[in-house]
Amino acid sequence: MNETRRDEARLSQEHLLGLEHYTAEDLELILQTATHFRAVLERPIKKVPTLRGITVVNLFFENSTRTRISFEMAEKRLSCDTVNFSAGSSSTQKGETLRDTAANIEAMKIDAVVMRHSCPGAPGFLARNLDSVILNAGDGAHEHPTQALLDMLSIRDRHPDFQGLRVTLCGDILHSRVALSNIYGLQRMGAVVGVCGPPTLIPRGIAELGVRVYHRIEEAIEESDVLNVLRIQLERHTAHHFPGLREYHERFGLTRARLEQHAPEGMTVMHPGPINRGVEISSDVADSEYSIILDQVTNGVAVRMAVLYLLLGAKTVEAS
């Protein structure tokens, strides 16, 4: 009888650099744990003392108000001490390297770093150079694991079984940090993932990831249970990607008329935000019964509480 192992709840990974190496068991554990934290968020007192004494640094080299606030909220709900560090107020402008910046912060005795950085792979670089737990809050167009996890938690509320569930990501897949994490996570849980967008915004060779590719939004609607509409980031597009917002909305935008004509029963529409109303999604969809956009935001805090809890858990003894 081995009782210590029986109720152990440990992730297979030390950090959250991406979902690429997370197993289905890991993901299940995170989503389960997140539902308990969501229950905490429904209470009058939304804070638990779980991570009292733990210090988390939010290291944001790129602006991302939403993600930072969501992480900060999760940290505070868990009673962590948080420190925010953003590139604007930092010494990186004076030419300090990432390693030095991070090492200096770590020398102040911290436990975890949440990092947003424009360079893919930067969180892994940090993980190799620091002793702290690293959580990737988005690294360039690579991964954004907590976004995918909150998307998955939101999907599960409406569609309890991932097995065979058809989830399609629509829009700018090429520049997205959300797409890859969603593809890895959803596929591991048994979902069938598709992508849809102008061919210029779909990365070459994406089929090797085992996703379906649609270039017509109507077709994507017909063959999906969930549509996750990604933001069109104007600043990233050259004239060679697509001609303009008007044509984008006309050809690829998610409108109520399109949904009513093509959507299967019980379709769910998601968006990681911030929304460009009237571009990738129209208001009569974003604010409709199809949409679970605001649930995603709530779930974002719960999922981040869950990963912080699971990654910062039972670590002290490991060393001794």
């Binding site: 389960q32 209470r43 003392p49 003894v317």
Partner: protein, 185 residues
């Protein structure tokens, strides 16, 4: 860590009698089941609470509201343990405001879990009073906490632990004294 079963302290019949006595004591002390709510602590306290509620229902005709509490988020010792605790549901579908709340667990030991439970309950509302009912008190308290209702006192040695096994979860009703064994190899 592995444990060897040392001796069986209670069987099914014994446990049922103890449970019945605890129900009587709770009713007696509180003058009936009015404003009484039971909260079982995850995981086996939940089963003890549910059985107590059923027994009270038999005695009083009404079943007191019965909830489940997981205290993982409130523990002060989980980061020092080797295992990462599995979070279990907290399910309290009724108002605990101004109620007489009986907190139920299977074994009372250091008192730290009860301390965590008190903190958790304070975050959930303001009961008029909180009482503690346990199936077994095995001693070795680390905090100034005592139970209001005790099924059985079992003094334990440094290498001993008490396992309450319940048919809902473990396939049998029994209380075992177990002994920690040296890890092989």
């Amino acid at each position: 860590m592995t444990f060897r079963e040392k001796s069986r302290l209670s069987d099914q019949e014994n446990m049922a009698r103890t449970l019945s006595r605890l129900a009587h004591e709770i009713l007696e002390k509180n003058g009936g089941s009015r404003d009484l709510v039971l909260i079982g602590m995850q995981s086996r306290g939940v089963h003890v609470a549910s059985r107590l509620a059923s027994r009270i229902e038999e005695l009083e005709g009404t079943r007191p509201p019965c909830g489940e509490l997981d205290v993982t988020f409130y523990r002060d010792d989980w980061r020092m343990s080797l295992k990462q605790p599995v979070v279990r549901p907290t399910q309290i579908d009724f108002d605990i405001q101004d109620k007489t709340l009986v907190l139920v667990d299977d074994v009372l030991y250091t008192g730290r879990t009860v301390r965590a439970a008190l903190d958790a309950l304070m975050d959930l509302g303001r009961p008029r009073r909180i009482q503690l009912a346990v199936f077994v008190d095995r001693g070795h308290r680390e905090l100034p906490i005592r139970a209001d209702f005790v099924g059985r006192n079992v003094p334990t040695g440094p290498d001993e632990e008490v396992r309450v096994r319940m048919s809902e979860q473990d396939g049998e009703d029994a209380i075992w004294l177990v002994e920690r064994q040296e890890e092989a190899g």
